[in-house]
Amino acid sequence: MQKKELQVSAIKNGTVIDHIAQNHVERVLYTLNLSKYKDQIYFGANLDSKKYGKKGIIKVSNKFFAPEEISKIALVSPTATLIEIRDYEVASKKQVEISDEIKGLVKCVNPNCITNHENVLTHFEVVNKDEIVLKCRYCEKNTTKTNIEFV
């Protein structure tokens, strides 16, 4: 039997971020500040996906993400799957998850919101997890997927 060829090379240890929404690879790299990362990173975009048609993938050697970083991935690409690799084997695999509340990570889109003027930790209620709509606890305005900026 012919061995299935990997579209992006395997890593020995680290994390694979799979099923990234099409055209979102760059955004995920940027969000996780991976441009400054020193170890190997492989990534692919517009790859065929049975589930989504097209997808992106990022493989980061020797990196295991903290919960806060995983929340950021979820906000940028809620369909992403996180696979931890140890010695070429899948150690764990999970769908990224958005919590019901987001504290601190994201800036409020409203320039007249108190959080953009005083030293106030931002705090959002996630009102729509699929479309990513975050309602500010303070000014009550919605920040959406297209205008999310991280703190």
């Binding site: 409203n110 007249n112 108190i114 959080t115 106030v120 000014c139 305005k141």
Partner: protein
């Protein structure tokens, strides 16, 4: 409601709102009672407001409370760069409740999180102005004898008017039929309309007051401002349609009352002031009773 801040009208349940209106009715009958004579109310107005501040101060004074505060942030240490948190923490040492207006949205919620004493939001930027909403509801109930199943028209700038948004959302709990009269460019935002749809209530949209005047119990007027229009020609075309004249009232229902959050500029002709439908100055008077009710409920005096 004792010790509970009021930041957004959504903070109060329907029954809490009705309770405040009932208490306010008592103050209308007997507005001067020294029940807050051992209390200090502070009014922090980081941006100017005539009506709201004087109404709160009158309410507090009539109940015997002492009032401290400022009406111009220029005279305070905010000007020196003090944070809102520090100002609120300091003023909380001097008073039992803080009434606050601030130009930034969300400032009142933030203040309520840091303050050891309750905060009453008297307007936080473009966000909320819950006491206006309560006094509007009080005025509706008083003039119509009920809040349920009324036909309410909102006229003018329905897109940016925060008082309109809060009142529409609050009235969704009372089986209201909404008549939304505005220029195309200033229609009610879809997130507010969603509240009406969620409750399966009826709403109609019109471009002129005449189309709806014979159907409604309340006509809630707001100002159409020139600066809201990208195209000045569009403003010139529509501006006169949203100025209420005596003539437009000829087909109105007998029980119709006209409300306006004030200040009025020219959207209601002065000739309307003498009609039996004009209610906007009594509405401002009702603001005092509603604020008396809030202050005394929050300070545990009723």
């Amino acid at each position: 409601m004792k010790e509970k801040s009021l930041i957004s009208i959504n903070d109060y349940s329907k029954s809490e709102i009705l309770e405040i209106l009932d208490i306010a009715e008592g103050f209308e009958k007997n507005p001067r009672q020294p029940i807050l004579s051992d209390k200090v109310v502070s009014t922090l107005f980081f941006e100017p407001s005539t009506r709201t501040r004087l109404s709160f101060e009158s309410a507090a004074n009539q109940l015997g409370a002492r009032v401290i505060g400022f009406s111009d942030a220029g005279t305070t240490s905010a000007k020196k760069g003090e944070s809102l948190k520090d100002t609120v923490l300091t003023v909380a040492c001097y008073s039992d409740v803080i009434v606050m207006r601030h130009p930034l949205a969300g400032s009142a919620r933030w203040a309520s999180e840091v303050s050891p004493v309750p905060i009453i939001n008297a307007g936080d930027g473009a966000n909320q102005h819950p006491t206006q909403c309560l006094l509007d509801m009080y005025s509706i109930r008083k003039t119509q004898g009920k809040l349920d199943k009324l036909n309410i028209a909102f006229v003018g700038d329905l897109k940016y008017g925060r008082t309109v948004h809060s009142l529409v959302i609050a009235m969704c709990d009372f089986d209201t039929t909404f008549h939304l009269i505005s220029p195309e460019a200033l229609k009610l935002p879809s997130y507010v309309k969603q509240h009406i749809k969620d409750k399966n209530l009826e709403y109609h949209q019109y471009l002129s007051i005449e189309e709806a005047i014979d159907k409604v119990d309340i006509l809630y007027m707001t100002r159409v401002q020139r600066e809201r229009f990208a195209d000045p020609i569009e403003y010139e075309n529509v501006k006169n349609s949203y100025i209420l004249t005596k003539d437009q009232l000829k087909n109105c229902k007998d029980n119709l009352k006209i409300l306006h959050p004030l200040p009025r500029v020219n959207e209601i002709s002065e000739e309307v002031d003498d009609t039996p439908q004009a209610y906007y100055f009594q509405q401002a008077q009702n603001g005092v009773y509603v604020r008396q009710a809030l202050l005394s409920a929050i300070l545990g005096a009723v």
